[in-house]
Every structure is written in structure tokens, then in C-alpha cells.
């Protein structure tokens, strides 16, 4: 039961991921990407016992980041005609090189010797639970956690400065790009 569910979710995920790249309309791409993220979250929650990561994946990725993408796409009013087509030869070359990359990864992993060792933090509880994850995050990984908040502050200031309508720099940009 669990085995067939794994393969079913895996194939649905791959199908949606291909549709993200293949569909011509950018809005459809965003919606297929949301579905891909839902499938990956289902994998976290039902297969890998990582309940909290799965919920955060739905809230942050499918909920916040993808809505941001959708907002920007709606603001720009792009449709399928807006994107000029690349030549077919270029696409075939890209797909062949991607396939060769996949072949390389799979061939390299054939010889991989996977050892089943337990990690540094040994608990009898399920490791995906909020209790265990919070305990590790606020003790062992406290400094990276604080640095991540500084990163968010920098990103916020940067996007506000970039998005601000600056009349002088805009005219200069027009002159350069014309």
C-alpha cells in the first residue's frame, strides 16, 4: 500500500514538474509548480514522517512564495505570446544535455555505498516532531538561526530600495537601455 502510494506520488510529481517547464502560459506554470509542491509535501508528511517540514513547505512555498510569483505575473500581464520562441535545435540540445546530466548522476550513484548509521542526535521519538526539531534548532543551530534573521532584514531593505520609484535613476536607465 505504502509502496504503491510512493510510486504514484513520485510519478505525479514528475509529471507536474515537466508541465511547469513545458507549458507555454506562465500562469499555468505557476499553478503546476504549486501542485508539485503539494505532492512533495505529501511525500514529507505521509512517507518520511517529517510532518512539520511538510506543513512549513505548504505554508511557505505553496502559500507565500508562489503567491508572490503569481502577483508579479499578474502585474506584468504576460501571456503565452509574450515569450519569443527559442529555436527547436536549441531545445533539443538542452534536453539532451539535461538527459546526459541525469545519466551522469545515476551512473555515479550506482556505486554509492550507503551505510545506515544513526546521526549525532539520538532520540527515541519521531525526528520530524516539532519538539525534537525545536530542541535542535534552538541549541545546536542557534547562531545560524540568528544569522538567518539578519539575512531577512537585508533582503527586506534590498527589495524596498529596488522597488522604490526613483525618478532620477529611472531616466538614466532609460537612456542607457534605449
Amino acid at each position: 500500500m505504502l509502496t504503491s502510494a510512493f510510486y504514484l506520488i513520485a510519478f505525479i510529481t514528475i509529471f507536474f514538474a515537466i508541465m511547469v517547464v513545458a507549458s507555454r502560459n506562465p500562469i499555468h506554470s505557476v499553478l503546476y509548480l504549486v501542485l508539485t509542491f503539494f505532492c512533495i509535501s505529501a511525500m514529507y508528511i505521509f512517507m518520511l514522517d517529517a510532518t512539520f517540514v511538510g506543513m512549513v513547505n505548504v505554508i511557505v512555498y505553496a502559500g507565500a512564495i508562489m503567491v508572490l510569483f503569481l502577483y508579479v505575473l499578474m502585474m506584468m500581464n504576460l501571456n503565452s505570446d509574450a515569450e519569443p520562441k527559442k529555436s527547436n535545435l536549441f531545445k533539443i540540445c538542452a534536453v539532451i544535455s539535461g538527459g546526459m546530466l541525469l545519466l551522469l548522476i545515476v551512473a555515479a550513484l550506482q556505486d554509492a555505498h550507503l551505510v545506515n548509521q544513526t546521526g549525532s542526535v539520538v532520540t527515541s521519538e519521531k525526528i520530524g516532531s516539532i519538539k525534537v526539531l525545536g530542541n535542535v534548532l534552538y541549541t545546536q543551530y542557534q547562531l545560524p538561526f540568528e544569522i538567518a534573521s539578519v539575512l531577512f532584514l537585508i533582503a527586506m531593505i534590498g527589495s524596498v530600495i529596488l522597488g522604490k520609484k526613483d525618478t532620477s535613476s529611472q531616466t538614466i536607465g532609460h537612456e542607457i537601455l534605449k
Binding site: A10, T36, V53, V72, L78, L109, T118, I127, Y141
Partner: protein
């Protein structure tokens, strides 16, 4: 070790993540819309996240899931700044075609 690894070998998770990552790479190579290229990068990041969580469950070590949180934080910051840059470019050129951006060279 989670129960799933008694039924499905961990190699199959690795193959699934490799396929998702390669689809992201092909998306970056084939598309010209800058926003779709961004979305393909997100797909690649999610493939790596799935790999980290599956090995975290395999080794029964929560550190992998902590790394996933940090990757999500960096991805959110990256998307905020990147979409601001794309909006800025669109405001100036009225296009998100990446071939137009090669003008930055001159």
C-alpha cells in the same frame, strides 16, 4: 529509520530527486522568460530539500530537516530580491526576456 525504507529503497528517493533536479536544469536552459527560470531554480531547491529530508529520515538525524528550514529561508529572501530586480527590469524595458538583458554588457 522510517518504515518506508523497509518497503522502498532509499536509492529510489535519490533517483526521484535527481529527475526533479534535471527537470529544473532543463527548464533553466530552455525557457527565456526570467520568471519561469526563477521557478525552475525553485524546483531544483525543492529537489534538494526532498533529498535532505529523506536522508534525515534514513539516518534518523534531525539535522537534515534543520538544513531544509535554512534553505527555505534563503529561498524566500532570494525570491523577494530577485522578483524586485525582475520588476525593475520590466519597468525599464517592458519585457522579461533574458536575451534582452545581454544589453547590460555594452
Amino acid at each position: 529509520m522510517a518504515e518506508i525504507f523497509k518497503l522502498v529503497p532509499v536509492e529510489h528517493f535519490v533517483y526521484l530527486c535527481s529527475v526533479l533536479f534535471v527537470i529544473g536544469v532543463v527548464g533553466v536552459l530552455t525557457r527565456r522568460n526570467a520568471i519561469i527560470i526563477f521557478m525552475s531554480v525553485e524546483l531544483m531547491l525543492n529537489a534538494v530539500n526532498l533529498l535532505l529530508v529523506s536522508f534525515s529520515a534514513y539516518h534518523h538525524d534531525p539535522a537534515g530537516q534543520i538544513f531544509v528550514f535554512f534553505i527555505m529561508a534563503v529561498a524566500a529572501a532570494e525570491v523577494a530580491v530577485g522578483l524586485a530586480i525582475i520588476t525593475m527590469i520590466y519597468r525599464n524595458t517592458h519585457s522579461v526576456d533574458i536575451d534582452q538583458m545581454s544589453r547590460l554588457k555594452h
